[in-house]
Subunit: 349 residues, 2 copies
């Protein structure tokens, strides 16, 4: 029997890789730094996922259960890989919990880090308690507490969602688009309107990037839920003591706009995982320009890193959707399985 | 040995699936309706692909060579599946070339159909010879002939690229976004400027959706290549006998704009494959709302169709990028392989 395959990270990608390997009888060892499996959707308490509309705890929770119930997957929670040596087919691995093991290959499913809004101070996060992030609103919804102003617990009557916080912004060294925040924000806007039908929800945007079939979110949010869209360049978020004030320039009518809100939501982007430098050192893999794990050509080397036998999938390579992370993880699992289970060459019939 | 896996369609997805299966020793039968392998990038003569920047004939050509050189892949060109019966593990397949075979599973990699611009007649395609599609410009570039006005072969001095032709347009029954046309158009604009440095290139857009790391294309096209962007709603494309005239409303300055051009390029979207109805009948799989092949949940049933043992990947399910089509195809290959090669259950160590 071949050695197990090491999977680092148990978000949607890591869970998908472990399941795919188990489905072909291949053992894997799943190493997760948190105390529970599930990655960002579970740890950060996401509400309904896009584009499926399923609750994260159900959708990703089922992926967790499937993996935890598999006799072919050994999970180490609250653990990290501290040493990784050897060669494809026979890597030597040591974990922070003292365990040592051999692995035939490794798949890095180490994901991303949410942008920290304190790095965009002029937009009020960290200064005003009612300036929150999309992740915080997801938590308000998923816990059942509802969308409330943190300062005093009141139901907001006016909410502004600011897109591209930590994305498409060279001033703070983040020129990439984070792919999913537009669709997530359309979804959150509809969820707020559903819970609080009297609340006015505005989305401030540069471009609305509900690409592919996500376009449905854009239409529905306007037509069924009356979400309002303002194409604007935002200058600052301040307070008049009563309300939050969003100041900017409406780029459609080319004039300054100043609008009061009860709550301002930062649609935060996806940063490279803060652990990437140490992961790169431990595993001996290269990072790309922005600090994500560098990946091979999709045409010939999908899922490969700069080191033979070490694969990568999902948001570890840059902003990625859950669905695409899962597909990439299964593709990487296929490649790792092929590497560690050299086929008997057989002529086609 | 298990029966071969049937793969329908030999674009990037079909080629990736065949290669992935061969890499684990699994035979496949690849059925392609055209006389050569490669799908849209080869058949339609694409130029440089996004986001890799590699020429389609090199990148996809290498995928074709790899599959054609594999003893585990049997390819039938100029052929279609005419009958498909049986059950997972033992499907009975008949091809239009008279061949009959058994297959353990099937993967539909049947792709999309380019939007036909004659269905948007007010934008001049089919009326004026110098109104062309992105596919035609790709061919001008990939054949080495260069970008020329079809009417008289002259080098255009002014080119307009119109985004969202056949996308985000309910008037013609296509409300989806086609995902890739924005990035492809940024790329084509730069290629035109590179070949014809004196040519002015304008892109008419609703939103620029260069999502994820494709954002680089948007920045570079403006900064290095001086491509001009106009946010506009287009009314019609006419001619004054000398020039093509693009009439519309600039939605940033809220006034009518009428600009003359030598060439107008329709950035055409991705329609469901025109064969989908007959494919659905032959394979007994359901279609979704818009006529694409309906796909299972990414969380638990990625790549599955409504029929057990029949999988799907890539643009057969809706607008998709080449890179994601390849990942999905490998994921589907993994699922098909798992189905047809039931693992020996082994307890984890």
């Amino acid at each position: 029997m071949s050695k197990p395959i090491l999977i680092v990270g148990s978000g949607p990608a890591g869970l998908a890789a472990a399941h795919a390997l188990a489905s072909v009888g291949q053992r894997s060892v799943l190493v997760e730094k948190e105390q529970r499996l599930g990655g960002a959707p579970i740890i950060s308490g996401y509400a309904k996922l896009v584009p499926s509309g399923e609750w994260a705890r159900d959708a990703i929770g089922a992926m967790v259960s499937r993996v935890e119930g598999s006799p072919l997957v050994t999970a180490h929670k609250g653990a990290a890989v501290t040493e990784f040596g050897g060669a494809p087919g026979a890597f030597n691995v040591r974990l922070s919990n003292g365990q040592a093991l051999e692995a035939g290959a490794a798949i890095l499913c180490t994901g991303f880090t949410h942008f920290d809004s304190v790095n965009k101070p002029e937009w009020g996060f960290g200064t005003f308690p009612d300036v929150v992030t999309t992740t915080q609103v997801e938590q308000m919804i998923s816990t059942g507490k509802g969308v409330r102003c943190p300062s005093d617990g009141r139901k907001p009557e006016r909410v502004a969602i600011l897109l591209c916080v930590g994305s498409r912004d060279r001033q703070i060294g983040r020129e990439w688009c984070s792919k999913i925040c537009c669709t997530v924000s359309c979804n959150i806007a509809m969820e707020i309107r559903e819970e609080l039908p009297d609340c006015h929800v505005y989305i401030y945007y540069m471009d609305i990037r509900t690409y592919g079939h996500n376009e449905t979110y854009y239409w529905r949010s306007q037509e069924e839920f009356k979400v309002k869209y303002i194409k604007a360049r935002i200058a600052e978020v301040t307070s008049d003591g009563q309300k939050l004030i969003v100041k900017g320039e409406d780029t459609l009518v080319k004039r300054p706009i100043t609008i009061p809100f009860d709550m301002v939501v930062h649609a935060i982007g996806m940063d490279p995982n803060v652990d990437n430098k140490s992961l790169a050192t431990t595993f001996g893999v290269a990072l790309e320009l922005h600090g994500n794990i560098a990946k091979g050509s999709a045409y010939g080397a999908l899922g490969e890193t700069s080191r033979a036998g070490v694969f990568v999938a999902g948001a570890a390579t840059g902003p990625e959707t859950i669905d695409d992370s899962i597909a990439q993880a299964k593709a990487a699992a296929m490649a790792a399985f092929a590497l560690t289970n050299q086929p008997v060459q057989t002529a086609a019939a």
